[in-house]
C-alpha cells in the first residue's frame, strides 16, 4: 500500500535559515508516528507544512496521493487556493494553544466547519458534534464559551473540532505542553482512545515520553531538520543507537530517571 504521507527531498527555508534540507519521510496509512527532538529542530515545521500553514520551497510532498505543488502553480504555495482546499480536506490539526474560537460556544466551535466547508446540514452536524463531545467527555459543556473551560477541557474540544471534519490524518503539535500538569492526563486519555482507531493516521509531536512509547507505532528522533534515528518506541527508548539521541533522551528523562519526566515538560 502507498504511504499516506510522503516527503521527498523537501527543502524548507525561513529567509536564510534552512529548516528542512532534502527531507525524506513517509507515514503509512493508519500509522501512529511520534516526532521527538530538541527545540528548534523543525518538528512543528513538518506539521505546519502538512497543514498548508507554511509553504516549502523545493521537493515533492504528497498526502493521500495528492501532491502539494500543482504543476504551474503560483504563489508561495505553488498551488491554487482550491487545490490547497482539497489537500486540507484530508488533514486536521490540534494546536499547542488550542486556538478555539472564543466568540463561539463549544458546540458552535465544532459545528461551524462541517456546515461551512462540508456543507453538512446543521442538525446533522450538531448530532455528530454531540457524539464527539460525549467521546471527549464534555457533553455538558456544549453551551459554554471556551473562556469558561479549563485548558484541558479546551484542548479536548479542539480535538473534537478537528475530528468533526473527518480527516484521514490528524496532526498534534505538543497538545499538552500548555496545560497545567494535573490537566495533562485527561487530554492524553482522549488521544490514547483515538489511537485505537485503525483508519486514522496520527502524527504527534510531544515531550511526554512515556505516552509516546505507549501509543506510537514508530518514534522519530529529529535534530536540525533531519531524522537522526527512528524505530519502534521500545527499542529506541531503551537502546538508542546515535549519541545525539542518547544525549537528548537522557536530558529529557532526567538524571534521576522516571521521577522527573513530567518536570521538564513545564517550560
Amino acid at each position: 500500500m502507498n504511504p499516506i504521507i510522503r516527503f521527498e527531498n523537501v527543502t524548507k527555508r525561513f529567509g536564510a535559515l534552512t529548516v528542512l534540507d532534502n527531507f525524506n519521510f513517509e507515514v503509512a496509512r493508519g500509522e501512529k508516528v511520534t516526532l521527538i527532538g530538541p527545540s528548534g529542530s523543525g518538528k512543528s515545521t513538518v506539521l505546519r507544512i502538512l497543514m498548508t500553514l507554511e509553504p516549502f520551497q523545493e521537493g515533492h510532498l504528497e498526502l493521500d496521493g495528492i501532491p502539494y505543488h500543482e504543476p504551474g502553480g503560483h504563489g508561495p504555495f505553488k498551488a491554487s487556493e482550491k487545490h490547497l482546499h482539497k489537500i486540507r480536506c484530508n488533514v486536521g490539526m490540534v494546536f499547542q494553544s488550542f486556538n478555539l474560537f472564543p466568540h463561539m460556544t463549544v458546540l458552535r466551535n465544532i459545528v461551524e466547519a462541517p456546515v461551512a466547508v462540508l456543507k453538512m446540514k446543521r442538525d446533522e452536524a450538531e448530532s455528530r458534534a454531540t457524539e464527539l463531545l460525549r467521546m471527549v467527555g464534555l457533553y455538558d459543556k456544549k453551551d459554554h464559551f471556551p473562556s469558561q473551560l479549563s485548558g484541558g477541557q479546551q484542548q479536548r474540544v479542539a480535538i473534537a473540532r478537528a475530528l468533526a471534519m473527518r480527516p484521514r490524518v490528524l496532526l498534534f503539535d505538543e497538545p499538552t505542553s500548555a496545560l497545567d500538569p494535573q490537566l495533562v492526563g485527561e487530554v492524553l486519555g482522549v488521544i490514547r482512545d483515538l489511537a485505537q482507531e485503525h483508519d486514522l493516521t496520527m502524527l504527534l509531536v510531544t515531550h511526554e515520553m512515556r505516552f509516546a512509547r505507549e501509543v506510537s507505532d514508530r518514534v522519530c528522533f529529529f535534530d536540525k531538520g533531519r531524522i537522526v534515528e527512528q524505530g519502534d518506541p521500545e527499542l529506541l527508548f531503551s537502546n538508542p543507537q546515535q549519541p545525539r539521541t542518547r544525549e537528548f533522551l537522557s536530558s529529557i528523562l532526567g538524571e534521576p530517571a522516571p521521577a522527573r519526566e513530567s518536570l521538564r515538560r513545564v517550560p
Binding site: R88, G92, P102, R161
Partner: protein
C-alpha cells in the same frame, strides 16, 4: 427672518431663543451629513483595510499611499477639490453628497487604521485554526475575524463619530449650511455673531458629551461572549 423664523435681537437671551429653530434646521443637516459620512467611513474603511492586506503589492501599496494622503491633508482643501475640481472632469456631485463623501473619505482613512489594528490583534492561532478547518477566506473574515474584532474597535470607531460631528461645520465652504453656517448667516444679517456662535458651541458640547456617554454604554453592552480582551 430665515426659513420662516424671525429673530428678536432685543436681548441676548431672546435672541438666543428666537434663533433656536433655525439652528435646529442646521443641526439636522449636521446630523444627516455625519450619518451619511459615517456610514461611508465604516464601509469604505473596512474595504481599504482589507485591500491593504492584499497579496498584490500594487494594490496594498496604492491603498496605503491613498489612505496616507487622505489622512495627511486637510478636509477643507479636500472639500474644495471635490467640489470645484471634479466638475472639470464632468463629475458633478450635489453639495451635500460632496460634503458627506469628503467626510466619509477622510474618516475611512482613520477607520481603516482602526480595522487594521483590530485585525492585527486577532491572534495568529485563530487564522491558523481557520485554515486547518478549511474555512474559506470569506468565512474566516465573516465568522472568525469580524466578530472578534468588533468589540475591540467599537470605542475607537465611536470616538471618530464624535470628531466627525465636530468637523461638519467645514461643509459650509461647499454651500452646505450646517448649524455653524446658519449661525454665521444670522450673524451676517444681524451683525450679531457672538450669540449665534456661542449657541452653536453650547449645542455641540452636550451633543458630543452624550455621544461619548453612549459609546461607553454600547461598549459595555456589547456581548463579549467570553472574549478575553487582553
Amino acid at each position: 427672518m430665515m426659513y420662516g423664523y424671525a429673530w428678536d435681537t432685543t436681548t441676548p437671551l431672546t435672541f438666543a431663543i428666537s434663533i433656536l429653530p433655525i439652528l435646529g434646521i442646521g443641526l439636522l443637516v449636521t446630523l444627516k451629513a455625519a450619518a451619511v459620512g459615517y456610514a461611508i467611513a465604516l464601509v469604505l474603511g473596512l474595504v481599504l483595510a482589507l485591500l491593504r492586506r492584499s497579496r498584490f503589492r500594487i494594490v496594498s501599496w496604492t491603498v496605503a499611499g491613498f489612505t496616507e494622503f487622505v489622512r495627511d491633508t486637510p478636509l477643507l482643501v479636500q472639500l474644495f477639490f471635490l467640489y470645484y475640481v471634479l466638475p472639470d472632469f464632468g463629475i458633478v456631485l450635489p453639495a451635500f453628497m460632496t460634503g458627506a463623501l469628503a467626510l466619509g473619505l477622510q474618516y475611512s482613512a482613520y477607520t481603516s487604521e482602526v480595522y487594521r489594528g483590530g485585525i492585527d490583534a486577532i491572534p495568529r492561532g485563530q487564522w491558523e485554526a481557520a485554515t486547518a478547518l478549511n474555512l474559506s477566506r470569506l468565512r474566516t473574515y465573516r465568522d472568525i475575524v469580524v466578530p472578534q474584532m468588533v468589540p475591540r474597535i467599537v470605542p475607537s470607531l465611536g470616538n471618530y463619530l464624535v470628531s466627525m460631528l465636530k468637523e461638519t461645520p467645514v461643509l459650509s465652504v461647499v454651500t452646505v449650511l450646517d448649524m455653524l453656517g446658519l449661525a454665521n448667516m444670522i450673524g451676517e444679517r444681524t451683525f450679531e455673531y457672538l450669540v449665534p456662535l456661542s449657541m452653536v458651541g453650547l449645542i455641540f458640547l452636550p451633543m458630543t458629551l452624550i455621544c461619548s456617554a453612549l459609546i461607553y454604554l454600547v461598549e459595555r453592552a456589547l456581548p463579549k461572549s467570553g472574549i478575553p480582551l487582553r
